[in-house]
């Protein structure tokens, strides 16, 4: 192997990319050749020096100015930056939106289930009770009292308030069983709203003349 060939192959020899056979030949030549030994050493030193150039650092003032300068450049590149949403919104925006959605859904379910979240009603009140409640809600207590007073003045049985059975007897409805039920319901409704005893004591005593008119409870509806 000639020295010129060896010199050309030294960079590859140092890098270790030569084929093993070629590398071995080079190694044997260099061991016996002082000139090539020196050439190898020169290459190694060149690489060492060239790859260890000391870094020239900026002054401490330059380091301090690094970020402020960069920040100005960032602002120039992102003019909209100042107009963006507050940081906490940008950081947690999705979480806030998620919680708001869940709350909205829960409130919707709550509203749909009459205030009983995820529970459906099992004890539906009877239809007639609902009607009675509705009726009582529509007529204020004082009007009802007035209406009742008027109706009682036209009854011909003074002892009508002695018991609910006497009231039932006074109402002439063809089907007595249905009449009893109906009056029972009305009686319950009326007594739950008005103190019947006091009404009887204060108003009834002298107020009921002898009259033959009949009350038609249906007219109250």
């Amino acid at each position: 192997m000639k020295c010129k060939s060896v010199e050309n192959l030294i960079p590859e020899y140092i890098e270790g990319t030569l084929a093993p056979k070629r590398s071995n030949q080079l190694k044997l030549h260099i061991e016996d050749c002082p000139q090539c030994q020196k050439e190898l050493q020169t290459f190694e030193e060149t690489i060492h020096h060239a790859s260890s150039v000391p870094v020239e650092y900026p002054t401490p003032e330059a380091w301090k100015a690094f970020w402020p300068t960069l920040r100005v450049r960032i602002s120039q590149n992102q003019g909209f930056e100042e107009d963006r949403l507050p940081l906490w919104v940008r950081m947690h925006g999705w979480k806030i939106a998620g919680v708001a959605c869940v709350l909205t859904l829960l409130l919707s379910f709550w509203g749909l289930s009459n205030g009983r979240l995820f529970k459906t009603s099992t004890d539906n009140p009877p239809f007639d009770v609902l009607i009675s409640s509705s009726f009582m809600a529509e007529i204020p207590g004082d009007q009802l009292q007035e209406q009742l007073h008027y109706e009682l003045q036209h009854l011909d049985v003074p002892s009508i308030w002695d018991s609910r059975s006497s009231l039932v007897d006074e109402i002439q409805i063809p089907n007595s069983e249905a009449a009893t039920d109906l009056v029972d319901q009305w009686y319950n409704v009326i007594t739950s709203e008005i103190d019947v005893e006091s009404v009887g004591n204060e108003v009834f005593t002298d107020a009921i003349p002898s009259t033959t008119d009949r009350i038609d409870l249906i007219a109250l509806d």
């Binding site: 960079p11 020096h49 060239a50 150039v53 870094v55 002054t59 450049r73 960032i74």
Partner: protein, 190 residues
């Protein structure tokens, strides 16, 4: 812990918190500067390149998905920016940095004061000669040499980074080594 801190800062920065990004910059600016310096061998250029690297990374921050560490991610950006820099320098060979931007003596004291950190005058001169020699390499030779001997990348990795074949990388590397040996012979042989 360190990575968690970085992830937290990145997350805040991704939401537009420039102060969080500032903390990341201050944490890594020295390492990125060293990388930039290895490609430029010029402090003003390295400083500007370093700014460019961080600006690029800020713009690309929303694409960072925490699959790697923040440093690995920004190192990749930095490496590409440095390679771009050597290409740009190649196309503006006759324009020196001093012509483009007057040196700022406040930030970079000029002349001998710049080398006061080196051991002695000889070493300072050797450093200058080495920098000059590296500047005389072709852009490709310089990229390959810096990536191999400064960044410690394997030949296969260099080939991937520069989109070259391994054979081409070897050719550029060995040409660079021979050229440097020739240019630095008077200093190294003594």
């Amino acid at each position: 812990m360190k990575e968690d801190t970085d992830r937290y800062l990145v997350k805040r920065a991704q939401c537009g918190d420039t102060r969080a990004f500032g903390e990341l910059v201050q944490k890594y600016q020295r390492r990125i500067y060293e990388l930039a310096y290895n490609f430029t061998h010029h402090p003003e250029d390295a400083y500007d390149l370093c700014q460019e690297i961080f600006l690029r990374s800020y713009k690309a921050l929303n694409r960072f998905q925490s699959k790697s560490t923040f440093y690995t991610w920004i190192y990749r950006i930095a490496k590409n920016a440095c390679i771009d820099y050597t290409r740009r320098r190649a196309s503006h060979k006759n324009i020196t940095f001093a012509d483009e931007f007057p040196a700022d003596d406040f930030l970079f004291p000029s002349g001998a004061s710049r080398d006061v950190t080196m051991d002695g005058l000889e070493q300072a001169e050797l450093g200058r000669e080495i920098r000059n020699a590296i500047q005389q390499l072709s852009p490709r030779q310089k990229q390959v040499f810096v990536l191999r001997h400064y960044e410690g990348l394997a030949l296969r990795e260099i080939a991937d980074v520069l989109h070259l074949r391994v054979g081409s990388v070897k050719a550029h590397l060995f040409s660079a080594t021979r050229k440097l040996r020739e240019l630095l012979a008077p200093y190294v042989e003594n």
